[in-house]
């Protein structure tokens, strides 16, 4: 029987005599996986194709995947008739600041929970974990009032501040910190390194994969967020991509081509990031569930 031997990172194919039963099984497997993958991708391909079509050609069956004439003007419309560039900058600003702040606040807190022994530590950590179960909708209204009182309504800071503190991030980092042997910090302590020195010079460099995971995770989350901006932002010049698109849909309800072009523009960055860092992404997602 053919076998794929998994040796750590690479898979090698070991050709042996292949019985027909196994071959058929493998072909069925391929067929199923290909069909499933296609059904996930077809809506994207359709969007991509619609984004360069004329209004008349977007609909209609059978689908003409490659348009008879390319309407690049859909993209031009998105970038010239709408403040799309501003939406882009706003989204980048919120996502970058949220991510940076979250990495700092979560990694220091997780260090305290994993590496420093003080009496209230475990109770506090329990409180953190417990709040992970509370749905966002429970906090939504008081947070809104709080931001109103602080005068941060219709400002990006409301979104950045709310995104900067995440119990999940603390939990994720702590998981990784716990796996670093205590002897390492002990040795550094004997060498006279301060506690902050141990955190920044020894522990942080060791958990680079965790930092990468949380970075991608937080960035994607902030980038794709819809409810937050919907609640806090009113002025068009402050809108994020996700909000801007909504606005586009209602004002130019009949222009499907530009709408699809806008959707393509809004998702390209996250897809690029995913391709660049997919292993970290997968690790970040599974850290909570599998290492549990």
């Amino acid at each position: 029987m053919s076998t794929w031997t998994n040796t750590g990172k690479t898979t090698i194919f070991l050709p042996k005599r292949v019985p027909t039963g196994a071959l058929i099984r493998k072909m069925v497997l391929y067929a199923v996986v290909i069909v499933v993958s296609l059904s996930m991708i077809v809506p994207f391909l359709w969007m991509l194709s619609a984004s360069v079509k004329s209004e008349a050609e977007i609909f209609g069956f059978p689908i003409q995947w490659i348009p008879s004439e390319f309407f690049w003007s859909n993209y031009k419309k998105v970038w010239t008739e709408l403040p799309f560039f501003t939406y882009y900058l706003n989204t980048i600003k919120i996502a970058v600041f949220t991510t940076l702040l979250q990495i700092v606040t979560c990694s220091t807190a997780a260090y305290a929970f994993a590496k420093v022994k003080f009496p209230e530590r475990d109770k506090l950590f329990f409180l953190y974990v417990a709040t992970m179960m509370v749905p966002y909708q429970v906090m939504m209204i008081p947070q809104f009032m709080l931001m109103k009182t602080l005068g941060l309504m219709d400002s990006h800071w409301a979104l950045i501040l709310l995104g900067a503190f995440s119990p999940f991030g603390v939990f994720l980092f702590r998981q990784f910190f716990m796996s670093i042997p205590e002897e390492l910090s002990e040795a550094a302590r004997i060498d006279g390194l301060s506690e902050f020195g141990i955190y920044s010079r020894i522990i942080l460099p060791l958990i680079r994969p965790a930092i990468a995971s949380l970075t991608i995770f937080t960035f994607m989350h902030a980038w794709n967020d819809f409810l937050g901006p919907l609640i806090y932002l009113n002025s068009d010049r402050l809108f994020t991509l996700q909000l801007g698109m909504q606005h586009f849909q209602s004002e130019h309800a009949t222009e499907y081509g530009p709408l699809m072009a806008a959707a393509v523009c809004a998702i390209v960055p996250t897809i690029i990031i995913y391709f660049m860092a997919q292993d970290h992404f997968v690790e970040g997602i599974s850290a909570g569930a599998v290492k549990g």
Binding site: M40, F59, F61, V116, P135
Partner: protein, 296 residues
Amino acid sequence: MKDSSRALRRNRITGYTFLLPNIIGFLIFICFPVGASFLMSFTEWNGFGDIEFAGLSNYIRLWSDETFRISLLNSLIMTGVSVPVTLLLAILAAVALNKGLRGVKIFRTAIFLPHITATIAVAVVWQLLYNPTMGPINGMLRSLGIDHPPTWLASTQWALISVIIVSIWHSIGYYMVLYLAGLQGIPKDLYEAAEIDGAGKVSQFRNITLPMLSPVIFFTIIMGIINSFKVFDLVFVLTKGGPGRSTHMLVYDIYYTAFQRFEYGYASAMAYVLFAIILVITLIQFRGQKRWVNYS
């Protein structure tokens, strides 16, 4: 004795110094709101006038609120249908991908792609795909000889199903990645030993894969239920709760009550009902897990 109490004090200072940046935000933006909204759920307030203490009246009002009842029912249907289907498909996809096919990464990416895409972009695309007269889905159904295909998002009977389909499509990838990671953690020699003992593929799946994967399955069931109760973006963009109230769901109702009707106290009560549902489901799961989750 004195020495250890000094060490304790030093540790405490170090601990809190490291915690400080996070715990300030945690207390202000998470803990305080959780408590505040609990108190608010016993009041009546529109954000401007006085806050009036209302006792349990908000919770009592929920009982007779038809929109809330419909929302709750829709959320339950959505969860009851989408979670089992999503998890089943995700686990099958993960098991298939774990069989060492060529191009695993391409398939994994393809299935995961919807999940990393903003829900709003996804919803906009599906809205066009679902278009009853011109959309490609009905185009395909008509070409298959179905003369009167469903009107999807425009029909009170089909709207909820349409939303559920998109939600399943959007979330399969996330759970599949979790299962894949879990499967890769199962030692290969377990299967080799079973093979020697003459166990077939089905029995290997039942006796090795499922038990070894049970902690991940447990986690995904809880997460799946919680996430499905919290669905918002999809409903907001696809249907705005309509047509009628056929896709009105819990979180949409909370948003609408708070930010469109400015009934903050009442919306807080709804939010706490959502919290209670999630809490109960999680507790039941944790009780039940002893029977079937295998932590080795």
